[in-house]
C-alpha cells in the first residue's frame, strides 16, 4: 500500500503489520498525551513534586536523554573534524536518535514549567549568570541544528526527492552541512556542560556543589565528558534493539567495534576523572562545609553507598574495561552487557545529580525527603520514549537510514536485480559532498 514510499530495494514488513505495531505504541502516546493535558489543565499539582522536590523525575529525564542523545554531536565532530569516515554508517541514525532525544527534552521542559506560556521569558529576560539560561539557549539552537541535519534525510525519501526543489534543497544542505555541524558542536559542548553546571553552581547544596574553574564548576566538564563517553553505548543499544526487531543487520561490525572502542576509552578516562572529583569532594569540599561524606549516603531508605558503587564501579569502571579490551569488546554478549551497564551508569549519574541533591537534608534539623512520581509524571516521561519508537519505525521504513543495510543483508541480490538498487539507500545523508 505504501510501497511507493519505501526506499528502493529495501524490504519492509506489510503495511497492516507495521501499523498494528504503530497503533500499540500509539496507545502509549495517547496515555502520555492524556497526562500532559491533565497537567496543563489542572496544573503541576498532578505531579508528586513538592517544595522539596522542585526538580524531580522530569529534570532527570531531561538530563538523561540529553546525555545519551549526545551521539549526533559527537558523531558529527568525529566524522567532520577528526575525519573518521567509518562513522558514515551510523551518522544518519545518530542524528535521528539525537533529534528524538532533544525534541523529547524540550517537550518535557514545556510540560515541566509552571507557566508554559511564559517559556519565552528565558530568552527575552535572560539572566546571563544562570546555567539554565545557557542550557535553554544551546538546547533550542542545537535542536534547530539537529532538525537541519535531519531534513535532508527526510527529503531523500523516494517521493520527496522527485520534487525538484526538495532535491536541490537536500543537496545544498549537504553541501554546507559542515557549517551546521560545527555550530552544533559548539552549542552542544556548552549545553552538555551547563547541564552539569546547573547542579554544580548550587552553593547552598553541598551534595552537588563543586569548586570552579573560572566560572565553570567541575561538573560542567564532567557532564560534557560523560555525554561524550556514554553516547556510543546508547546509540549501539538502540541499534541493537532495532536490529532485533527488524531481524536484519543494519550496521557493520567494523563500525560497531569502532564505536565500542571509542566508548571504552572515553568511559575509562571519564570515570577516572569522576572518581578523582568524588574523592576531592568527599575529602575537601564537603568537610569544608561541615559535612562528612557519609552524611549523604546514610539515614534514609534509598540513597546508600551502594549507589555510589553502582555508578562508579559497576556501571563505570566495568563497562569501560569491557569495552577497552579487544576480546570482550568483540564478544557480542559481553559488549551488550557493557553498553547496557554504560547506559544505566550515565542515567544513574544524572539521577544522583538531580534527585539525591533534593533528597539530602542540609539544615541540621531537616530530614531526608524521598519522592515517588505520580502516574502523570511517569506517563509524560514514557511519552517521549513511545514517540521515539514511532519516529524510528517511520524513518526506518521510509527513509534511507542505514547505508549498509543492502550489503549486510542481501549481498547476492545485487547481482540478481537489473537496476542498481543500492545507490539511493547507500548515500550517507549528512555527508559533505
Amino acid at each position: 500500500m505504501d510501497s511507493a514510499l519505501i526506499p528502493e530495494g529495501a524490504k519492509r514488513c506489510s503495511f497492516p503489520k507495521f501499523y498494528m505495531g504503530i497503533a500499540v505504541v500509539g496507545a502509549v502516546v495517547l496515555w502520555g498525551l492524556l497526562a500532559w493535558g491533565l497537567i496543563y489543565w489542572k496544573g503541576l499539582n498532578q505531579t508528586n513534586m513538592n517544595d522539596y522536590y522542585g526538580f524531580a523525575l522530569w529534570i532527570w529525564a531531561d538530563l538523561a536523554v540529553i546525555a545519551v542523545g549526545g551521539g549526533a554531536f559527537f558523531t558529527g565532530l568525529l566524522k567532520y573534524i577528526f575525519k573518521i569516515d567509518e562513522l558514515k554508517n551510523i551518522i544518519n541514525f545518530a542524528v535521528i536518535i539525537g533529534f528524538i532525544c532533544y525534541s523529547s527534552a524540550l517537550l518535557i521542559l514545556a510540560i515541566d514549567i509552571g507557566q508554559p506560556l511564559r517559556g519565552w521569558f528565558i530568552f527575552w529576560h535572560a539572566n546571563v549568570h544562570s546555567m539554565l539560561t545557557e542550557v535553554a539557549f544551546c538546547l533550542s539552537f542545537y535542536f534547530a541544528v539537529l532538525t537541519i541535519e535531519f531534513i535532508p534525510n527526510i527529503l531523500e525519501n523516494r517521493q520527496a526527492n522527485k520534487v525538484s526543489f526538495f532535491h536541490h534543497l537536500a543537496h545544498n544542505m549537504h553541501g554546507i552541512m559542515v557549517i551546521f555541524a560545527a555550530t552544533g558542536a559548539a552549542l552542544s559542548f556548552f549545553h552538555q556542560g551547563s547541564l552539569g553546571g546547573v547542579a554544580g553552581v548550587m552553593f547552598g547544596r553541598p551534595f552537588s556543589f563543586r569548586e570552579h574553574l573560572n566560572i565553570w564548576p567541575y561538573t560542567f566538564f564532567l557532564f560534557t565528558w560523560s555525554a561524550a563517553a556514554f553516547w556510543p553505548c546508547f546509540t549501539l543499544l538502540v541499534t541493537k534493539i532495532t536490529e532485533t526487531i527488524t531481524g536484519k543487520k543494519l550496521v557493520g561490525d567494523k563500525t560497531v567495534h569502532l564505536l565500542s572502542k571509542i566508548a571504552g576509552w572515553m568511559i575509562t578516562s571519564y570515570i577516572i576523572a569522576k572518581i578523582i572529583d568524588t574523592i576531592y569532594w568527599a575529602t575537601v569540599t564537603a568537610p569544608s562545609l561541615g559535612f562528612k561524606w557519609t552524611h549523604f549516603y546514610s539515614n534514609n531508605a534509598l540513597y546508600g553507598k551502594w549507589m555510589l558503587f553502582t555508578e562508579l564501579i559497576l556501571c563505570g569502571v566495568l563497562p569501560g574495561v569491557l569495552l577497552i579490551m579487544k576480546s570482550t569488546r568483540e564478544n557480542s554478549k559481553l559488549r551488550l552487557l557493557a553498553i547496557i551497564l554504560g547506559v544505566i551508569g550515565v542515567c544513574l549519574n544524572r539521577w544522583v545529580m538531580v534527585l539525591q541533591v533534593m533528597a539530602v537534608p542540609v539544615m541540621p534539623f531537616d530530614t531526608w525527603a524521598l519522592y515517588i512520581p505520580s502516574w502523570q509524571e511517569m506517563a509524560t516521561t514514557i511519552l517521549p520514549v513511545a514517540y521515539g519508537i514511532i519516529l524510528i519505525a517511520l524513518t526506518y521504513r521510509y527513509l534511507p537510514v542505514f547505508p549498509q543495510e543492502q550489503e549486510l543483508n542481501y549481498p547476492v541480490e545485487e547481482e540478481a536485480v537489473d537496476e542498481p538498487v543500492v545507490a539511493p539507500a547507500a548515500e550517507p545523508v549528512a555527508a559533505t559532498e
Binding site: G43, L44, N45, M49, N50, D51, Y52, Y53, G54, F55, D112, I113, G114, Q115, P116, R118, G119, F121, I122, H125, A126, N127, H129, S130, M131, L132, T133, A136, V198, V201, M202, F203, G204, R205, P206, P287, S288, L289, G290, F291, K292, H295, V357, M358, V362, M363, P364, F365, D366, A369
Partner: protein, 287 residues
C-alpha cells in the same frame, strides 16, 4: 566600634529563640498580610505555602533533660558569597524573576516574570521558596480581607517572604513626603511577623544603621571572616548565629540564644569541630 552610616540599607532581623514560644503568630500574620492563599488540604506541609515557617528543634536528650526550641524561618535574604548580591536563588534564576536589591539587601520575587522552572527552589537550602501548585483560593467572603498592597500570586510560579516589601515602599514614600528620603525611621518599616510576635522575639531593622536595635544586637562584622573569605557580616555577639553560615550564603536573618546546643543547630560541624570554633565570632570585632 564606630561604623559609617551607609546610604544603602541592609534590612535584616534577629530572632531571639529563647523568647520564641512557638505560638505561630508570626506565621498567621505573615499569611494574612501577604495574601497567602488557602488549600483544601493543608496536611501535606511540603506543599503548603508558609513564607514564615516555625521549626521545632530538640536537644535530642530524654526526659528530664529534654529541651525544645522553636525556630521561625522566613526567607533569609542571602547576600551570597562575599555578600555581593549573588544569592543562591538570584544567581540561578534564568529569567531574572528574582532579584537582589542592592539598596535594601532584600531578595525580591517578580511574580509576573517567574515562569515556574523552580531552579531557585532547588538552590535554596532553607526551603524558603514555595511553589503555587494550585490556583490561589480563599474561603468565600475572605477575599474581601485581602491586602490591596500585595498582589496575589497565580498558579505555576514561585513565591517567598519579601520582608513585607510593600511596608518598605510605604515607609519610603512617607520619608520622601517628609523631605528626608534617606532617613527611614526604624518604627516606620517593620515586617508583619515582627509586629505580631507577642513575645517580642523578632527585631527588625537596618543592619547598616548603628542606631537600629538589630544592628546593636547583631554587631555585624563588615569584613570577611578570616577563616572563610566567603562569609561577611558575621555577628560579633557570641550568642548570635546564622543558619548554614559556612556555606557562604550570608543571610540577613540572625538568631540569638543563650543555649549552646541551640547555636550548634545553626550549622553543620564535623566531629570535634564545634568545640574549636564555638567561641569564634567576627574576628575584627575589637574596639
Amino acid at each position: 566600634m564606630k561604623q559609617e552610616h551607609n546610604k544603602a540599607h541592609k534590612f535584616g532581623m534577629v530572632i531571639d529563640l529563647d523568647k520564641c514560644t512557638g505560638c505561630g503568630s508570626c506565621m498567621v500574620s505573615c499569611m494574612s498580610e501577604n495574601n497567602v492563599p488557602f488549600k483544601d488540604d493543608e496536611s501535606d506541609k511540603k506543599k503548603s505555602i508558609t513564607w514564615m515557617r516555625v521549626y521545632k528543634l530538640t536537644n535530642g536528650k530524654s526526659f528530664p533533660d529534654t529541651e525544645i526550641v522553636y525556630m521561625p524561618r522566613p526567607c533569609q535574604h542571602c547576600g551570597g558569597k562575599g555578600d555581593h548580591g549573588h544569592s543562591p536563588c538570584v544567581s540561578v534564576c534564568p529569567a531574572t524573576a528574582t532579584d537582589y536589591g542592592y539598596d535594601t539587601g532584600i531578595v525580591s520575587q517578580i511574580y509576573t516574570r517567574c515562569f515556574g522552572c523552580r531552579y531557585c527552589m532547588g538552590a535554596c537550602p532553607y526551603h524558603a521558596r514555595y511553589f503555587n501548585w494550585w490556583d490561589p483560593k480563599w474561603p468565600e467572603g475572605m477575599e474581601k480581607y485581602l491586602s490591596p498592597d500585595v498582589s496575589p500570586r497565580m498558579r505555576g510560579i514561585v513565591e517567598k517572604c519579601s520582608f513585607c516589601y510593600h511596608r518598605y515602599q510605604a515607609a519610603r514614600d512617607q520619608a520622601y513626603a517628609e523631605g528626608d528620603k534617606d532617613n527611614i525611621p526604624e518604627e516606620n518599616y517593620q515586617t508583619a511577623c515582627t509586629t505580631a510576635c507577642p513575645a517580642g522575639a523578632i527585631v527588625f531593622g537596618d543592619l547598616n544603621n548603628p542606631e537600629h536595635k538589630v544592628h546593636q544586637i547583631v554587631k555585624p562584622d563588615p569584613h570577611p571572616d578570616p577563616r572563610n573569605k566567603h562569609v561577611v557580616g558575621k555577628s560579633r555577639n557570641p550568642k548570635v548565629f546564622r543558619l548554614l553560615e559556612r556555606l557562604g550564603t550570608n543571610t540577613k536573618v540572625y538568631y540569638l540564644s543563650d543555649r549552646e546546643w541551640v547555636r550548634k543547630q545553626g550549622d553543620n560541624y564535623l566531629e570535634g569541630e564545634w568545640d574549636k570554633i564555638k567561641n569564634h565570632h567576627g574576628d575584627t570585632s575589637h574596639g
